[in-house]
Every structure is written in C-alpha cells, then in structure tokens.
Assembly symmetry: C2
Homo-oligomer: 331 residues x 2
DNA sequence: ATGAAAGCGCTAACAC
DNA sequence: GTGTTAGCGCTTTCAT
C-alpha cells in the first residue's frame, strides 16, 4: 500500500540506511547515488512517515501550545506569532484551549507528554506548584508567554505589567484626573495583580486616595466593560477616568459611558490595554498600552526552539518593551 | 529512563499484552489483574507513548486543521468550535495558517500526511484541481468548513451564502433603499461570489439597476471597510445602504461614514455578515446575517469524526441555517 | 560512501 | 483470561 523507505531502497538498489541519509540531507552520500535515490523517491511517490521517525529519533518536531481561549482576539494574535515562528523552524503546533481551568491544564500537559511533543508553550493566569511539579518531571522544555511564574523557575516572555499599569495610571493623573477607576479581569491572575499594583503605586505617589468603589473585577469581555461603566457612573462621586485591563474592556467602558449619555473623553477618559486591532475599531479610538502581542508569541516560540535545540540562552526571562499609544479616548 | 509498557509488565508479572489491554480498556482482563496492573502503572508513573501507539495502530488521534488566519476573529471562533468537539472525541488538532496561499496550502496538506493525521479540516477561498488531486491520493478523510468545492466532491459544512446575500439585499430593498452597495473581500473567493450572486438576484428581482460603482472588492479588514465607505460616499449619487461581506468590513463602513460626517442608519444603512462578537461592539450595533461560526466548526469536526470512524453519514454536504439579526445600523 | 542490524514502544493477531 | 510474537517505518551505531 503505502510506500516505505524499504521500497525505495529495493527499487534503487541501495540500503535503507542510504535512503534515510538522502532524506535527511546527510552529506555522506555520493552525488550519483543521491540522485538515483531521489529519482526513485519521486517515481514511487515516497513520503516519509513522521510517526515512525518520531519513534526512532525521539523527536516529533511538534510543540504543544496551551492557550486560555483562541477565540479571544488577544490570544489569537499571540497564537499567530507562535505559529509563524514555528513554521519557520519546521515545527508543528498542537493547539489546545484550557479556559484557564487548572484541572484541564494539568490534563492537557499530560496529553502533550503522551504525544511526545518536543516543547510546550504555556499560557495561563496562574502557575501553581502542581504545574511546576508536572513540568519538572519531564525533560521537555517549557516557555511561558504572558504568564508569570512567581518563583521565576520557568523561562517566560512578558512585558513589565506593573510598570505598564503605573504608567497608564500616571498618564491619567497627569491629565488632571483625581478619580480614576480600575476595571480588570480575574482578580486572582498574577498579571492582573501586577497591573493593579502599578495602578496603586501611581495613585499613592500622587497622594490620591484609593477608593474601593473604583476597583472592579469582572471578565475580559466587552459586556463586562459595559456593566462596569454602568456601575461606576452611578456612583455619586463618579470617576473621571478609567484604566481598563484589556481593549475589549476599554471598548465596553466607552460604549457603556456613551449609552449612559456621557461623552468620551470629555466626560470620561478611557485607557485600554494590549493595543489589539480592536483599539482602532471603536469611536473614539482607544488610547492604550501597546503590548507587542504577536511578538510575544514569536519570541516565546523562538526561545523554545533554542531550548529544544539545547542552545545556550543568555536570558530565559525576557521582558519585552511596551509603550503608550495615545488615541482619542483620552483628552 | 522512561517507563515503558515492558517495565510495567515485568513489575506486575504479566505480559505486555495484558498491560496493553488494561491501558486500552479491553474488557478481557480479570478484575484482579487489572487492579494489579493499574497499581504498578501508578507506582511506576507509566504514561503511554502516543507515537509508538500511532506507529503500531496506524491511528494518531490527531487531525490537521488548515485555516486562513487564526488572528481573524471569524476563524478564531470557528477554530474554537473545532477544538471543543475534537477534545470531546479525544482528538488533538494540529493548527496551521495558510493565508489562503495555494502553494502553502498544498505544502501544509503534505506535512499533515507526513504526520499521519487521521483527518483534515480544510478552510480556504478556492478548491483547485490540485487540491482535489492531493486529497484524492490518500485515504485520509477531509471536511471543508466555510469553503466551497464547486465539484461537490468533498464533504463540507456551510451556510447558503447566495441565499444569505439575497436576503440581506432584499432586506435593504424592503427598507426602501434603491441605491445599495456591496462591499466584499477577495473577488475570486467562491463564497464571495455567492454572496454577490444573491445581491444581484435581489436587485434584479426588484428591477433595480446594477451600478458597478457600488461594487467594491478589498480585504476583509476594518480599514478596508473605511476606505470603501469613503470611496462610495464621494460618489455623486451615493448609496443609501451598504451590504458588507463581513462584520469587520461593516464596522469599517460605519466608522468611515461617521468620519465622513454621516449618521448611521439615518444617512446610510449598513448590513454586516457573520454576526461575530464584533457586531455588538460597534455603535450603532450592526445588523447582520448570523452565520453560526462556532457551530460550523463544531459540526465539521463532528462530521470528520464520523468519517474517520468509517460510520455511515447520511449527508456529507451540510448546510446550516442562517438568519438575519436586526440591530441598529439599519432603520 | 554504504550496508547490516538492532532497536524505538506499542498493537494485534494468534495460540493456549 | 493471558502470553508470544511479529511487525509498524524509521534512525542510528557499528562495520566495512
């Protein structure tokens, strides 16, 4: 049925070993026999079986990517970065959604090991000891992307979220705002806590009071942003600015404010996070922290290729630069 | 080093075959020995090697998905549908972006075959004879999602795009519009042509003239929509309504019109396509054809599982229902 | 430069 | 109900 390396060897009057050498670009083959083998490969329509190769060589050239939710535009952009670099280095990606459910994550990691992936890219809100233990048990390299390991054990690619949170808040303060809200996602996610820390640091530095009414944790969704806006704007001393933990939230807050009858940025300034394509898809366009999403994926994948290849890496905890992109949702 | 089935067999005083039976849930094992085996599996930390299993059984429980661009929100939602059902049936997905580049697609399909995937999910704008030939050569089942094969050779999951295009246009006609533009994506994509056909049919049926100035082909992006709006609104007899081939385009047209100083829907009605999350993330919210994106992915994957399992399928060309979701971008 | 042969870890007859 | 054995298709020493 299917053509194997053995068939090619027989037809070309050489050994399997020689065919294998040709297929794998081993230089120790006389040009004439190389041509002969190549010709019969062509003639028979031989195609190497990656599974057999994987079993024999203990390398599958596939890496597992565990992502919270691919339908989230942020992770979709990140995944594209991963994928492009993976392709460049001839790796395939096995993609899985975890919904940041710990049990599911642990189970997915296990499946990846069963499939003998050469490396793992992991994204989540929290890295527990169980995660660490599971990773430690194997010799498969792991890289975290937009994910913090508090113990700093695992290679990772991130931006400085605390600093970004600080800068966004400070920006709003410098605009003259004194009542600034913080609308974010899952309260327990480390990254959210870092943004929060930055927010608090900026407030304290400016001797502004911290008002718990201004701090809202919800989902990362547009809808959650709308609800947050409604809740904030009903307050007696409503905020004059909102720092949101994602663009989608920022968009929601803008629309929530508009539906409430307010003008953005005149009555309420809104600051987003990530600078996904969404930020230019609202009116007014969204001022935001630019997180180089695609690049984070790309750099993480690149780092992983080095690790899989056992190359020396100078620094395995990489922090990419971020910046503020000023648009029209702030004055 | 790694624990194999052989180690388990030795430690449990049974044969590899018995261990294999236990691992694969074969009922022909005495409960007591099953327990014994399970215990030593636990004790040794044995984990089956899917690659070896794949080689021996000729099944990898992996399917390849070739998608135009995962960072496109439409495909991201579709991919989520695929992934969820794949997980349900214990399959893993190898995800690849093709950018609808034919050479790349062909090459990706080849890689999937090398990796011995059990099935392929394929999405693109066009199915050429070369595609067909490549698919035909193997016994690996293929399912198309939101992709038309004009020769109707391959199983597929779609909606009736011609009808949807007709209904959207007719809706705008029934609103009293006589000058209706059509803003779409890649002109050569079959699906686009179907939407276009529906648009034309509705116009003809209403005895409305077909104006080439009103027909614009661009990208699927927000930006492309904005440019299209600008181009249309500069016309002397500018349209009073626009039917767009995607939500992102629709969003762009809305913003383009607003930037032009017009009000939507008062001065210009806008009709979108897909009903992704984006449609509720604009102001005014976007009236659109609801294409059950997630479901298309889910149904396609489900169909593929049946095909891989050699089950009889009653109908392998499935057309899912669509509907019009009325929002505020139309009067 | 080429070949022979021993696995890689598992499944799947087949035998008992 | 359990064991034996022959592959699956390839890589990788080790010879020559």
């Amino acid at each position: 049925m299917t053509v194997t390396i053995y068939d090619v060897a027989r037809e070309a009057n050489v050994s399997m070993a020689t065919v294998s050498r040709v297929v794998n670009g081993n230089p120790n083959v006389k040009p004439s026999t190389r041509k002969k083998v190549l010709d019969t490969i062509e003639r028979l329509g031989y195609r190497p079986n990656a599974v057999a190769r994987g079993l024999a060589s203990k390398k599958t050239t596939t890496v597992g990517a565990i992502i919270p939710d691919i339908s989230n535009i942020f992770f979709a952009e990140l995944a594209r970065g991963i994928e492009d670099i993976a392709t460049m280095y001839k790796y395939n990606i096995i993609l899985n959604n975890s919904d940041q459910n710990k049990e599911r994550e642990l189970q997915l990691i296990n499946t990846m090991y069963e499939k003998q992936v050469d490396g793992i890219l992991f994204m989540s809100d929290t890295i527990s000891d169980e995660h660490l233990e599971q990773f430690k048990g194997e010799s498969v390299p792991v890289v975290l992307a937009t994910t913090y390991d508090e113990n700093d054990k695992l290679p990772s690619v991130n931006i400085d979220y605390e600093k970004a949170g600080y800068e966004a808040t400070k920006y709003l303060i410098d605009q003259g705002n004194e009542r600034i809200a913080f609308v974010s996602e899952n309260e327990e996610a480390i990254i959210n806590q870092l943004k929060y820390k930055g927010y608090i640091r900026a407030l304290k530095e400016a001797f502004l009071p911290i008002n718990d009414d201004y701090i809202i944790h919800g989902q990362y969704t547009h809808d959650s942003g709308m609800k947050a806006a409604e809740q904030l704007l009903k307050l007696d001393d409503r905020p004059t600015a909102v720092f949101t933990a994602s663009d989608e939230l920022g968009m929601g807050v803008i629309h929530g404010a508009q539906d409430f009858g307010l003008k953005v940025p005149e009555d309420l300034e809104v600051f987003g996070f990530n600078n996904t394509r969404l930020s230019t898809m609202v009116r007014p366009t969204l001022t935001a922290i630019d997180q180089p999403t695609y690049d984070i994926g790309a750099v993480a994948m690149r780092l992983l290729t080095k690790l899989m290849n056992k190359e020396e890496v100078e620094e395995s905890t990489v922090i990419l630069p971020h910046r503020i992109v000023k648009r029209n949702s702030t004055k």
